[in-house]
């Protein structure tokens, strides 16, 4: 399968701290990749470099053959690489619907539609619906219709997380990077939320990279796992192989060993 994203030899240091120490990974189109590792292992730095928030000290990132290493976050988003955040980044004073309308507006504007002189209700590219309908449709797809008119700042944690991810879907991403999509969500809700996210995301045909600390979630939803440790990728492969890798078990998933074994046992059963 062809690589849609290719990161080669990424290095990033903050003073004496090395956050990325030669990270290389080629991500295949339409794959679902889980990024695991302890805090400070380099997962979020990797995502931040792909999305342009951080510029690597060395190394290059190619998206569909195009070098995107030096592009600004907005230019990378416009190319089709979108991200969600560990702490949901919403427009707090706006309702869920208004949040979506901001996103829809940006998509329209980037397509040269809905400007000062435009007439009628232009269709949102990729959604083929007028702005309001496109916003409603995405809210419905993420089960957020009942929160439509609630201010983002008063929404429960799990709903805020979903809204944060729903916002990324407005631009019809070709690659979606989810930074800890289930953090702050109760254990009972995790799988339901991941199911909903993956269903909505896969329906759009996006390649997904997600950072996750819960190994049950990783083994259930990822097709491939990249294990990070100390700014490097120490294992890369299918979840079963990576989560059973001795180095990964020692450095990455230590405390979660019994949960992985249980999850794999359940999967076998």
């Amino acid at each position: 399968m062809a690589a849609i994203l290719d990161a080669q030899g990424l290095h990033k240091s903050f003073g004496a701290v090395t956050a990325a120490d030669g990270i290389s990974a080629a991500i295949e189109r339409d794959s679902v990749v889980g990024l695991i590792g302890t805090n400070g292992a380099g997962k979020t730095t990797f995502i931040n470099m792909i999305t342009g928030y951080l510029k690597p000290d060395r190394g290059r990132i190619h998206y569909e053959g195009r070098d995107i290493t030096e592009l600004a976050p907005r230019d990378i988003t416009r190319l089709g690489i979108c991200r969600s955040f560990q702490i949901p980044q919403l427009y707090a004073s706006l309702t869920a619907f208004e949040n979506m309308m901001v996103g829809v507006g940006v998509v329209l504007r980037n397509a040269g539609l809905g400007g000062f002189l435009s007439r009628g209700r232009p269709l949102v590219p990729g959604h083929n619906l007028p702005a309001e309908e496109a916003a409603e449709r995405i809210l419905e797809r993420f089960g957020l219709a009942e929160y439509r008119d609630k201010n983002a700042q008063v929404l429960p944690g799990g709903v805020r997380k979903l809204l944060d991810i729903a916002l990324t879907m407005v631009a019809k991403p070709r690659i979606l990077l989810l930074d800890e999509p289930t953090s702050g969500v109760s254990a009972e809700e995790k799988f339901a939320i991941m199911e909903m996210i993956m269903k909505a995301v896969r329906a759009e045909g996006a390649t997904v990279l997600f950072v996750e600390h819960d190994m049950e979630v990783v083994s259930r939803f990822a097709e491939r796992v990249l294990a990070f440790y100390d700014g490097r990728i120490i294992a890369d492969g299918p979840p079963g192989a990576v989560l059973n890798d001795a180095e990964v078990r020692r450095f990455v998933v230590g405390g979660e060993l019994h949960r992985i074994d249980e999850a794999q046992g359940r999967a076998r059963a």
Binding site: Q89, G105, V170, A171
Partner: protein, 311 residues
């Protein structure tokens, strides 16, 4: 979807002003025209405020508009109210477009103080410049409208109608702009600029556009004020003038394009009454009014209408 009544309301206000004008005393026509001029400046400030930016130096463009109108009359003999207003708006827009490359990089207190610094530089330049009338200022030519010189008794009314017409068009355009994706970006920029960038939009470019629009409106307001008062002076660029515009904007609220004009009218009324009652301590009355406003109507006078609509 609720119907947008703002254009209709704006049109109704314009018709009401035009119809009632001939029956109003000259002092009230003066207050109304000046309120429209100030309301235009506040309309621009409202755009910036919605994006979380407070300009402490909007008097810069008010003064540029006023001096452009004055210079047009004195140097070129152009005294047409609307031509002066358009020229004032144009020169202010051009200045803001250039300065905007610098200002759009800053947020919060830095944006506010940088805008203040620029207005004070203009104040200093005018004060030291004899050709611009120094501290005494300059007299502005009596206004004409479409090449005609209105009769003495109708002059104030003509200027009021011209100012109302210009304000009507400006408010309708801003209202339309607020409904565009770029206009809707303002509260998003205020809430979370990082997210705006990650959605694929440039917050800096959006702020630059808003800054130029705000300056254009301030320039037009300054030109109309110059024609109304008949005199221009460096105080139009002074920081207290910028403070008055912020006062009007906060007094009005950011809920509608009508609000800044209402705020400017209330400001004018408070100012006039307070000055009449106590010429030496009128600032105290203004301060008291602002204090009461922040305590009881923190979202501005327009929030009263918004509440009624919501109820």
């Amino acid at each position: 979807m609720s119907r947008d009544r703002t254009p209709l309301a704006l049109g109704g206000i314009f018709v009401a002003i035009a119809a009632a004008g001939p029956f109003l005393p000259p002092w009230l026509l003066f207050i109304l025209t000046l309120a429209i001029a100030r309301g235009l400046v506040a309309l621009g400030l409202m755009l910036l405020l919605r994006a979380g930016l407070v300009s402490f130096g909007q008097a810069l463009y008010y003064c540029i508009g006023a001096y452009t109108a004055g210079a047009l009359g004195i140097r070129l003999g152009v005294s047409d109210v609307l031509l002066q207003a358009l020229a004032g708006a144009g020169v202010a827009a051009l200045t803001a477009w250039i300065l905007g490359f610098l200002l759009a990089r800053y947020r919060g207190i830095f944006f506010g103080l940088l805008s203040l610094a620029l207005s004070m530089i203009l104040y200093g330049v005018i004060v030291k410049n004899e050709a611009l009338g120094s501290t005494d200022g300059l007299n502005v030519l009596p206004s004409t409208l479409f090449g005609m010189k209105p009769h003495e008794g109708w002059l104030r009314y003509s200027v009021l109608v011209a100012a109302s017409g210009a304000a009507l068009i400006a408010a309708l355009l801003v209202h339309r702009y607020l409904a565009t994706p770029l206009g809707r970006l303002a509260p998003a920029i205020k809430d979370n600029e990082i997210r705006v960038e990650y959605m694929g939009a440039s917050a800096r470019q959006a702020i630059h556009v808003k800054y130029v629009i705000a300056a254009t409106l301030a320039g037009m307001g300054g030109a109309l004020a110059a024609t109304t008062v008949g005199h221009i002076d460096p105080d139009m660029a002074y920081w207290t003038t910028s403070g008055e515009f912020i006062f009007v904007t906060i007094l009005a609220g950011t809920g509608s394009v009508i609000a800044p004009f209402l705020g400017a009218l209330i400001f004018g009324a408070i100012h006039t009454v307070a000055y009449d009652l106590s010429p030496n301590t009128w600032q105290m009355s203004l301060g008291g009014a602002l204090l009461a406003l922040i305590l009881f109507l923190p979202d501005g006078v327009w929030s009263l209408f918004a509440r009624r609509k919501a109820a």
